[in-house]
């Protein structure tokens, strides 16, 4: 059963990722992105990371994607829907390089993995990745990065507010 759900999640993640890049309407693109993130969260859950799956759904698929949809609503999408895409030379060269990278990475990244069966777990251990264990690590070994991240989030809030506020005493550029 787990294996079936796993492969369904993998296939759905790939298909929705293709639709993120391929959809004409940015709103559809954002909704497919939510689908991709949700499938990723399902895979996290199957790998035994309960807490991370919940955080992925709440923070990524919830908060960040909602922010992106709001910004799509604040900007105009008619131009994007009507646009005809014609690839320029640098785009073709870039795509060729990415395809070469993908083929090489799949070839050389997957070859040694046949000997890796000894590294894999036969079944998922009980408490690994649960809130209990994560909190234990987060507030002991990783407490300094945790505090730094709070400062970074504060800086992010300040920067966003400064950028997005209306400038009254300035002529239009």
């Amino acid at each position: 059963m787990d294996v079936i759900i796993f492969f369904i999640a993998v296939v759905f993640a790939m298909g929705s990722a293709i639709m993120v890049v391929g959809a004409k309407n940015p709103v559809h693109s954002a909704l497919w992105m939510v689908s991709t993130l949700f499938c990723t969260a399902v895979i996290y859950l199957l790998l035994g990371f309960d807490f991370l799956a919940a955080i992925q759904v709440i923070v990524y698929a919830g908060a960040i994607m909602m922010l992106i949809v709001y910004v799509i609503m604040l900007t105009s999408i008619e131009e994007e829907i009507k646009r005809k895409y014609k690839l320029r030379l640098f785009q073709i060269v870039g795509i060729a390089f990415i395809v070469i990278f993908f083929i090489q990475a799949v070839r050389y990244g997957m070859v040694p993995l046949h000997g890796w069966e000894g590294l894999c777990w036969k079944e998922i251990p009980e408490r690994f990745g649960s809130v209990n264990y994560v909190a234990l690590k987060l507030f002991t070994k990783y407490v300094f990065p945790f505090e730094l991240v709070s400062v970074l989030l504060l800086a992010g809030i300040a920067g966003a507010v400064y950028l997005a506020k209306k400038e009254k005493n300035k002529e239009n550029r």
């Binding site: 990722a17 790998l47 910004v71 604040l74 895409y85 795509i95 799949v106 777990w121 991240v149 966003a160």
Partner: protein
């Protein structure tokens, strides 16, 4: 399911698809979403190896990357709103104010 090959393939696929999207698409918000896709695939690889190497450290990295991605999304989307207010569109080919 307990084979790293599928997870690594999925992660590479998402990364390359995100890179293609960054190059091809011209709407800055879609470009931003493709960047999020690439970030997510890197997270995915970290989680997969955290699972296979039986260490929680990769997962902690992903937690911090998630927090940083949230901050980045806030600032980046504020930039897009300001750009749209000043120029009227968010076409990545038309934003060349550093060129002139």
């Amino acid at each position: 399911m307990h084979s790293p090959a599928v997870l690594i393939f999925l992660s590479l696929f998402l990364f390359c698809l995100g890179a293609v999207g960054v190059i091809v698409r011209r709407n800055l918000i879609i470009v931003f979403m493709c960047i999020e896709l690439m970030l997510n695939s890197a997270n995915f690889m970290l989680v997969a190896f955290s699972h296979f190497l039986k260490s929680i450290d990769g997962m902690m990295f992903v937690l911090f990357v998630l927090a940083i991605a949230a901050a980045e999304a806030g600032v980046g989307l504020a930039l897009f709103v300001v750009l749209f207010r000043n120029k009227g569109n968010i076409d990545s080919f038309k934003i060349n104010i550093l060129k002139h």
